[in-house]
């Protein structure tokens, strides 16, 4: 059984079929790509998988559990974490605090224990600090722990967002255009980081990307969306050479 099984997923906004009858499976440990021209419905798929939108047709299961239409908080707790196309960091908080917000649900001390500074507060805050620093060092951000997130350079903001998503201890990580706005060097570095995350955390990753170098470089399988419908899916190299896909991207 695949980790993520998406079956006949669809959503309509008014009369518009933004995504229609879309199915794909992501196996555990896989790096799966979701590609397609602008406006194809890729981010809409992400929004359904994270509970921001409720699908109007079909559904999806994570580890066999049906999570279709559940609220975002619950879906996150069940093990799906994401990053955003337009970076959404907690910009007025420090880098380490951004990660600690991600670790929030992993700790149990109550509001009263926090206010009265009881022993469990200190114990768990210490654990939070250590765990957050571990995650930051994976992304080479340990030197910027007290910098405000909005003051980080762009590439590091993208990394911090991934670190924050990983902090929620997900089974599946969704990356929405992680290389957007990056130069070729930064993209190459990002590819290494994504691979490293997959190996180190034993993570399953589903990503949206326009940079075909990144997609062909790291994705094992891809699905192609066009006008909300699946155009092709399969092994990356084959799909990228499919005339249908090339036409969709470049025109006749």
């Amino acid at each position: 059984m695949a980790l993520l099984e998406v079956k006949n997923l669809g959503i309509t906004f008014g009369g518009l079929h933004a995504v229609d009858d879309f199915s794909f499976n992501v196996e555990k440990g896989q790096l799966y790509g979701l590609i397609g021209p602008n406006g194809a419905g890729k981010t809409t798929v992400f929004n359904m998988l994270t509970g921001v939108y409720k699908p109007t047709a079909g559904g999806f299961t994570l580890d066999g559990e049906n999570l279709t239409g559940r609220p975002p908080i619950e879906i996150n707790r069940k093990g799906i974490a994401r990053t955003f196309q337009n970076i959404r960091l907690f910009k007025d908080m420090s880098v380490i605090d951004n990660v600690k917000v991600g670790l929030h649900n992993g700790k149990n001390y109550t509001i009263a224990e926090g206010i009265f500074r009881l022993p469990r507060f200190f114990k768990e805050e210490k654990e939070l600090d250590q765990r957050a620093m571990e995650l930051l060092s994976v992304f080479g951000l340990e030197g910027e722990r007290d910098v405000l997130a909005s003051n980080l350079p762009y590439g590091k903001q993208r990394k911090l967002e991934i670190a924050r998503a990983l902090a929620t201890n997900p089974k599946l990580l969704l990356l929405d255009e992680p290389a957007a706005g990056m130069n070729p060097n930064e993209t190459a570095e990002l590819m290494d980081t994504i691979r490293f995350v997959r190996d180190k955390f034993d993570m399953t990753i589903l990503l949206i990307e326009h940079d075909m170098k990144l997609v062909s470089g790291i994705c094992e399988e891809v699905s192609v969306l066009n006008f909300g419908q699946e155009l092709a899916h399969g092994v990356t190299t084959e799909v990228l050479n499919d005339p249908k896909v090339i036409t969709a991207y470049l025109g006749e």
Partner: protein, 340 residues
């Protein structure tokens, strides 16, 4: 070790301030007029610090803080009028009753109101404050427009100041500790980006309500202190202007800065009194000072100057101002890239 030292210094400052004021009061070095301002200053600090929790840390604009203050004031003062316990027990109980009643109203108002955002929430909380005021005016057992009389007053300026000071310190410590815990980080994350905090599993509705209710609780406590200071409660004192005054204090002190709220509350409460000698020009100068302080607070050069001083006071930590300057260029180019 360093952390302990910081704690000891903070406690030392608090005790020193307290001792200094008490000495000034007892020796009569502080005129009666200024003595009478001690309690209002303390109350405004409590109100400002608590409002900062919703406006500064949660990032939701609410204009009904005076409403919660009045609910707490009437509940707590009614209790102490009709209750005959020794003051040591009665007064703390009155404070708690005032706070809890205001908190209950916070839940009742908060559950529907916090679904709204920005301007709409501001209008709803503003309406709440006005409704509470007119309801109280029309309730006879609360004294109506004439006011609720016969509230036991503090025995002396020193005892009044001590009471308010203790409550003030508790308020500041509780709110500071809350903000610097995982729950406080959750509250701040909602301010910075709701969608992102939902995506990392933060229960947005719960934490919005928590901040809102905590703020209401301390506003209620401040109300009880206020009632016992004057001995009479009039509904008109808790009008829209009072809410705005607290909001001005918070904005001026800096959103999300507890120290800022404290200093600003002291300045704003004292300012009209210090300017009293200028008669007719008083309000004019008051307004000009407010505008000047606003402009100064939003001036990037002044912010950098403040950060530099902070960095100098805390050696070892990298100057935040420097890193700001260094990264501004980078993030600008990144923004341009994204625009392309």
């Amino acid at each position: 070790m360093k952390k302990h030292l910081k704690k000891i210094i903070s406690v030392g400052i608090v005790l020193a301030v307290y001792a200094l004021v008490i000495i000034l009061v007892q020796t009569g070095a502080l005129s009666r007029h200024y003595q009478s301002l001690l309690v209002p200053i303390g109350i405004n600090v409590i109100l400002a610090v608590s409002l900062n929790l919703t406006v500064g840390f949660l990032g939701e604009l609410t204009l009904g803080h005076a409403g919660f203050m009045s609910v707490g004031a009437y509940a707590g003062c009614l209790f102490s009028i009709y209750c005959d316990l020794p003051t040591v027990i009665e007064f703390p109980l009155a404070l708690i009753i005032g706070g809890v009643t205001a908190a209950v109203f916070g839940v009742i108002i908060g559950i529907p109101a916090l679904r709204l955002k920005g301007d709409y929430l501001a209008i709803v909380t503003l309406a709440f404050g006005e409704i509470i005021r007119s309801v109280i005016t029309n309730l006879d057992f609360l004294g109506g427009a004439g006011g609720l009389k016969g509230i036991a007053k503090y025995k002396s300026t020193a005892s009044a100041f001590t009471t308010v000071f203790v409550v003030l310190v508790i308020t500041v410590v509780v709110i500071r500790n809350l903000v610097k815990s995982r729950h406080g980080r959750a509250i701040c994350s909602i301010r910075d980006n709701v969608i992102a905090s939902e995506s990392v599993g933060i229960n947005v509705v719960f934490y919005k309500l928590l901040a809102f209710v905590m703020a209401a609780f301390f506003a209620g406590v401040a109300g009880v202190l206020y009632g016992h200071n004057l001995g009479i409660l009039k509904p008109n004192t808790f009008d829209f202007n009072k809410s705005i005054e607290i909001l001005v204090i918070v904005v001026l002190g800096g959103m999300g800065s507890i120290t800022g709220s404290i200093i600003s509350a002291i300045v704003i409460t004292l300012l009209p009194e210090v300017l009293r000698g200028l008669d007719d020009y008083r309000l004019l100068i008051y307004a000009v000072v407010l505008i000047a302080m606003m402009l100064l607070n939003n001036n990037p050069k002044f912010t950098a100057f403040k950060e530099n001083i902070k960095a100098k006071l805390r050696p070892g930590k990298k100057s935040a101002a420097e890193s700001v300057n260094a990264t501004v260029n980078v993030s600008e180019t990144a923004a341009e890239k994204e625009a392309e």
